[in-house]
């Protein structure tokens, strides 16, 4: 079993190539043995036919000479120089080379069957065939022995060349298969990389099922991933519904508390009553705002905003100012609105004014409002429509920006809910826009930028 972390590519490569190498080795060996047998057979038959020709010549030319045909045969036979030795029926040397290679024991030629053997001749390995045939020369008759031999070097060279070619062909084949496996695996695994992209595009906000066509081999993975996605989605929906329901249920009693607190404050006459009902009212307002912000946050995070309507960001900012202008003047905020004509975008007017309102509330809540400069600006360029809220307060360091935007986080202890910027950020993102902290020497300047229609 291979280690689980081995790359698929290496794994498949090994799976392909190792058996292939083994199989090739077996096939190659078999082929070499076969070649050896084949070439030995071919050379031996040549040697034998030469021996037969010499033996016949011995009869024809009375044992002394070789005919011209046989001589041609001797010089043109493949496999190197041929040596021969002929003994007459009387056992004496008749013609050829004087000393034939000695036959090993048991290698005895009979009239029916020639014998082949390997021996030494002048220090070289040679292949010998010995033939025994009956001759009748008139003056003498009996069995003549013909020995024909040839050096093995030539046939070995021939065999080696054949064997090495075979080896080369098999080697090339193995390399080719390995190469195809190595690069083919990458190609073959492309559906998996596609799948990876599809999974990568999913996020906690988008756990939609993967619907692309996949090879049957990964169908199971996709089915199970989809099943997991829908389970996680269901759990998240249930949780978000719970939070939303909880905030909703809390809001009603809080609205009651708030209105009763306002009524108490209005009826308070003694300084103690006024002080205490002021504190009660402030707490009730805080609770009310928190419950509402939770609901808003849930709504923004839960579903994409309705983008069908075209609205004017300048009008949105103007509405927000109309709503909170009295509060700003009462608190001593030095306010300025700088509009630069219509800034049309697609989006949900209520959510967008909530985002702008949150920026204004943040500026007033987290700074001393008396004497605070607050400037709201709307601008439009080729690609974006922007609304900017800038104040002269304490400011946010760029290092703190990520933390400032997180849910329930506050840079400085204060009366806010810690959701204001998170909501503005989520609303902005939901509209395909971006919330930016513009670097300032003093104060905070936050821009909500949206795509121009």
């Amino acid at each position: 079993m291979m280690h689980a972390a081995t790359s698929l590519r290496l794994r498949l490569l090994l799976l392909f190539v190792v058996p292939l190498v083994l199989l090739s080795a077996i096939l190659g060996t078999w082929r070499v043995i076969e070649l050896n047998r084949l070439s030995t057979g071919v050379f031996d038959r040549t040697l034998l036919s030469t021996a037969i020709a010499i033996s016949r010549d011995v009869v024809v030319y009375d044992g002394d000479l070789l005919g011209p045909t046989t001589r041609t045969l001797l010089s043109e036979t493949a496999g190197g120089t041929i040596f021969y030795h002929v003994n007459g029926p009387d056992g004496s040397f008749a013609t050829g080379y004087a000393y034939p290679p000695v036959a090993p024991q048991g290698a005895v030629a009979t009239p029916e069957e020639p014998v082949f053997y390997t021996a030494q001749y002048k220090g070289e390995d040679v292949r010998v065939v010995r033939l025994r045939s009956r001759v009748d020369l008139g003056w003498i008759s009996g069995f003549s022995t013909v020995s024909v031999w040839q050096e093995l070097a030539a046939r070995e060279t021939f065999f080696k060349r054949l064997a090495s070619r075979t080896g080369a062909v098999i080697g090339l084949l193995v390399l080719a298969v390995a190469g195809i496996a190595w690069f083919g695996v990458r190609f073959g695994l492309r559906p998996l990389t596609d799948l990876e992209d599809a999974i990568e595009r999913r996020s906690p906000n988008d756990l939609s099922l993967i619907r692309r066509a996949v090879p049957p081999e990964v169908g199971g993975i996709v089915r199970r991933t989809n099943a997991l996605f829908s389970q996680v989605s269901d759990v998240m929906t249930a949780q978000s519904t719970f939070i939303s329901d909880a905030a909703h249920q809390l809001r009603n009693p809080i609205a009651g508390i708030l209105s009763l607190a306002e009524a108490s404050r209005a009826a308070a006459t003694t300084p103690e009553q006024i002080e205490r009902s002021d504190a009660l009212l402030a707490s009730a307002r805080h609770a009310s705002r928190l419950a509402n912000q939770l609901l808003t946050y849930e709504r923004v995070e839960g579903s994409p905003p309705d983008m069908t309507e075209q609205i004017d960001l300048t009008q949105i900012a103007s509405d927000v100012i109309e709503r909170c202008g009295e509060m700003m003047v009462a608190k001593g905020v030095d306010f300025e609105f700088a509009e630069n004509g219509p800034a049309p975008i697609h989006g949900d007017a209520i959510l967008l004014s909530e985002a702008v309102q949150n920026l204004v509330d943040n500026a007033v809540t987290h700074n001393d409002p008396d004497g605070l400069s607050l400037r709201i600006e709307t601008t439009r360029n080729g690609s974006e429509c922007m609304v900017t809220v800038a104040d002269s307060g304490a400011g946010i360091a760029s290092d703190d920006w990520a933390r400032a935007r997180a849910r329930f986080s506050q840079l400085r202890p204060g009366p806010g809910s810690g959701l204001g910027l998170a909501i503005a950020d989520a609303i902005c993102a939901g509209h395909g826009g971006e919330m930016r902290l513009d670097p300032m020497e003093q104060g905070t300047r936050i821009t909500l930028a949206f795509p121009n229609v």
Partner: protein
């Protein structure tokens, strides 16, 4: 004035009732739709505060029934936040105004005053701010017992700011009020009128505050 508060959140209804009673009104509290229908069928009301979400009979259906029956009493509809559809439906069903929950009590009181004023317009009711009294029918402003002379446009400007109940009014809307919607007048004309009106108000405790780039609001005291 007698006001019917139809709201199933009893604590909220009680809080609203206290504020209205403090302002000198008589309040009838109803907590469900059917009880409200019975009450309205037999009892008088100068204003109806109506929540949309009610048990037994919802606010929109009740409003629809009232209008079908020819009941013209002013209705201030309370809608849950961001339910745009509800708001449109509410105005279609014949509500005179709507307020999105949660609302500031000051805002609520302003809407109530506006609706009561609208109802009583023929009776020449006067509006007060600080130590000033404004008579919309006669377009006359009095400082204590002294009448302050205002031109027609200054009076229109003052009335518009006064109607906003302390909220800022954008310049464009002031222009529409003084010169009529769509009049081809430059924004800066407003500044001239505001500056003149400020001089007239110099001796009073009412002042006009500027929100740079936006508009003006009327502030009493100080």
């Amino acid at each position: 004035m007698r006001i019917a508060v139809i709201e199933d959140n009893e604590a909220l209804a009680q809080g609203i009732a206290y504020r209205l009673q403090d302002a000198g009104h008589a309040v009838d509290m109803l907590h469900d739709g059917l009880a409200a229908r019975d009450h309205l069928a037999s009892e008088d009301a100068d204003l109806i505060i109506l929540d949309i979400t009610l048990p037994r009979l919802d606010g929109l259906s009740l409003l629809h029934e009232l209008r079908l029956a020819g009941d013209k009493r002013p209705v201030l509809l309370l809608t849950a936040r961001a339910e745009t559809v509800d708001r449109v439906a509410g105005l279609d069903a014949g509500a005179d105004d709507y307020l999105v929950k949660p609302f500031e009590m000051a805002e609520f009181e302003a809407r109530v005053r506006a609706l009561l004023r609208r109802r009583d317009a023929p009776l020449n009711i006067t509006q007060r701010i600080g130590n000033l009294v404004y008579d919309p029918a006669a377009r006359q402003l009095r400082h204590g017992n002294e009448p302050l002379d205002l031109t027609r446009r200054e009076a229109a400007l003052f009335a518009c700011l006064l109607d906003a109940e302390g909220r800022p009014v954008p310049k464009s809307r002031l222009l529409d009020q003084i010169y009529g919607t769509g009049a081809d007048v430059d924004d800066s004309v407003i500044e001239v009128h505001v500056s003149r009106l400020r001089k007239r108000l110099a001796q009073t405790d009412v002042s006009i505050r500027t929100l740079r780039g936006f508009g003006y609001l009327l502030e009493a005291g100080g």
